[in-house]
Amino acid sequence: MKRTILGATALLLAVTGATAQEVTVGRFFGDCEDAGTDTKASVGEACIIQSIINAADAELDGVTVETLPTDWGNYYDQIKAAYAGGTPPDVHVMHRHRVPEFAGIGALADLTDDLENAGIDPADWEASALEAVSYNGRIVGVPMDFHANLWHVNMDLMEAAGLVENGAPVLPSSPEELLEHAQAVKDATGQDYLAADFAQFPLGVRMVLALIWQQGSNVFDGDTATIDTPEARNAIAAVTQLFDAGLANPQLNYADSQQAFLNGEAAILVNGTWVVDFYASEAANPETGLSTYHAADFPTLFAEGATWADSHMWAIPSPLKANDPETYAAALQVLAFINDHNIDWARTGHMAVRTSVLESDAYAALPHRDEYAGTAEIARDTPPSERYGAIQDVLNRELQAIWLTGKSVDGALSDAELDVQDLLDR
């Protein structure tokens, strides 16, 4: 009934010449022009999110949605510049780790009391998802996923090295075993054991962080940097031993490492959940060097399980709520639409945030999903900080210095600790 009334109103508005409420959407994930409106058919992050947005544009009455995609590298620089310039998009995607930075100065609209009316039920969100979008007890965003680091496995190479049991890859349980497995793959196939982006984006950092957490340590605690620790040394040594033995190449960037994996030149690629569907479709393509693909939980090399994880979420700028209630209402409708399509977004490989979706059969039936079911349990991240981006940059720089330029581990860790401490003190 409500829909009919809304539809009638929209029709009336259309007849009287009033235009639909336009909502601008800011996002990363890349471009996809011919995404269409079929949220079940699109492949890859860019096209899946764009098909959801296109569907919202087509199906929501009285709301038109315009997408403003931005490239990855400059996204946060540009969104901040847009906020400061008074022209932020009406709805934009962001990571959980940025919440303190944006919400801390009141940039994000408090959605707590408006979700219910918009048709979003926060009670359906996993507890950790609710926590991810909360700041000082208020809800400042709508969560869309959990994403985490996985080990993407080329089963043919593993099989050749005798590292497959019962159809699942045998992954190492200690740094020593990691080296043994890597050597076994090299001996059996001549290929590298492991590839990852150790040279560009902070994917190597996320791997080292996981290994630090696995030893019960962290890189900072409250206001104190704790990087120059034995745990960090162990974590770095576990990775660096592969480079020293020539079993992995630290000089590949994101695109190159992915290409190496797809060409069958590396048995393992350490990368996020966001590429599971892409690799699955590439494995089906006979022209690539990857034919049997498996997605595995990040293995536990030390005491406890841990892998880097984060969340994508959608937020609305606070000035919109304060100054433009109509667009704000329309923006909430868009958020509700995205929330309703949580299962479609999960097709990327990301983990859903809604309990009802997580428990659904459709979710369980997604390809490779059961292979990394344990990841939700071990998902971790550094403590919240307004300086998250800058801290990641410090770690990325210093780890790259070790791997790419031969800086000593002692020098890099003490420099990183001083720099991070500086950032925490600001």
């Binding site: 471009d31 403003l68 931005t70 490239d71 990855w72 510049a81 847009a82 022209t87 994101y254």
Partner: protein, 277 residues
């Protein structure tokens, strides 16, 4: 002598060809299918010859995506900036070169001092000012900062100084006003210098990167130069190498054509602008 000459030309043709290779390669890649490029970029003659050949990248470019919008923005900004620079530079340049008025010398010095201030030293305060005025994401925000750079005034001032006085004096004796002299006598004479300045400004506007990066956050106000930067960082996943290269070719076409037609002026503009970049 003659043999020596041909040997020199031949000897220089090889480096000249090598110099051209990167550009040729971009053009060649833009005519190859994306799925082929994803596997290898050296299908025929190291990829320098576009076989297999396709128009698809260019067709896609105009069908989808924002390259046409960016191209139009670049055109608006470049033409707008060129006209604005010409307007303020010719007027001010003439006044400083030929008219007598109090405080002229200090004013000339003040303008010259502006030449010392690089774009990078003012882009942050400009950003905050434009933010306060809600000016970002507009064409005028991309145009105005460069209009304030006194290089054009300086060039026009030098030019007007070199014009013989008697042309002007003849008109004065006829009782023609200063503004009429400027408009009817001096401006027509200044055409070559204006051409030089116009090309210098157009090239700068078309190719500027830092200020558009800061001022235009919305894609619909990107210039082609900025848009190209935004798609090259994730070519591997999203667009396909061929398409990105086609965008690069489209972005370069106007300046290359402009250069080939007005080569003489471009060279003069570079030499004149060379006194200050």
């Amino acid at each position: 002598m003659n043999r020596h000459y041909y040997r020199l030309i031949l000897g220089l043709s090889i480096p000249a060809f090598l110099w051209l290779v990167p550009t040729l390669w971009m053009v060649s890649l833009s005519f190859q299918p994306n799925d082929v490029l994803a596997r290898t970029t050296s299908t025929t003659a190291l990829g320098l010859i576009p076989i297999p050949f396709t128009w698809e990248n260019y067709a896609d470019l105009f069908q989808f995506g924002q390259v046409p919008v960016w191209f139009l923005n670049s055109l608006i900004v470049s033409v707008g900036m060129t006209l604005a620079v010409l307007a303020v530079s010719t007027t001010a340049g003439y006044a400083l070169a030929r008219l007598e008025f109090p405080f002229k010398e200090p004013l000339v010095v003040l303008c010259l001092m502006g030449l010392m201030v690089p774009e990078q030293a003012v882009f942050i305060p400009l950003y905050t000012m434009f933010a306060d005025w809600n000016w970002h994401n507009s064409h005028h925000a991309l145009i105005l900062p460069r209009v304030a750079v006194p290089i054009g005034v300086f060039l026009m001032m030098q030019f007007f100084k070199a014009i013989p006085r008697d042309i002007e004096e003849a008109a004065r004796i006829d009782g023609v006003g200063w503004l009429q002299i400027f408009w009817h006598v001096m401006l027509p004479l200044a055409r070559p210098a204006m051409m030089t300045l116009a090309i210098l400004t157009f090239l700068y506007a078309w190719n500027d990167y830092l200020w558009p990066l800061v001022s235009a956050q919305q894609r619909e106000f990107f210039t082609i130069t900025l848009g190209l930067a935004s798609i090259q960082s994730n070519f591997a996943q999203a667009e396909g190498l061929g398409r990105v290269m086609a965008s690069g070719v489209i972005a370069s076409l106007p300046v290359v054509v402009l250069f080939l037609i007005f080569q003489r002026y471009v060279v003069r503009a570079m030499t004149a602008g060379g006194t200050k970049g």
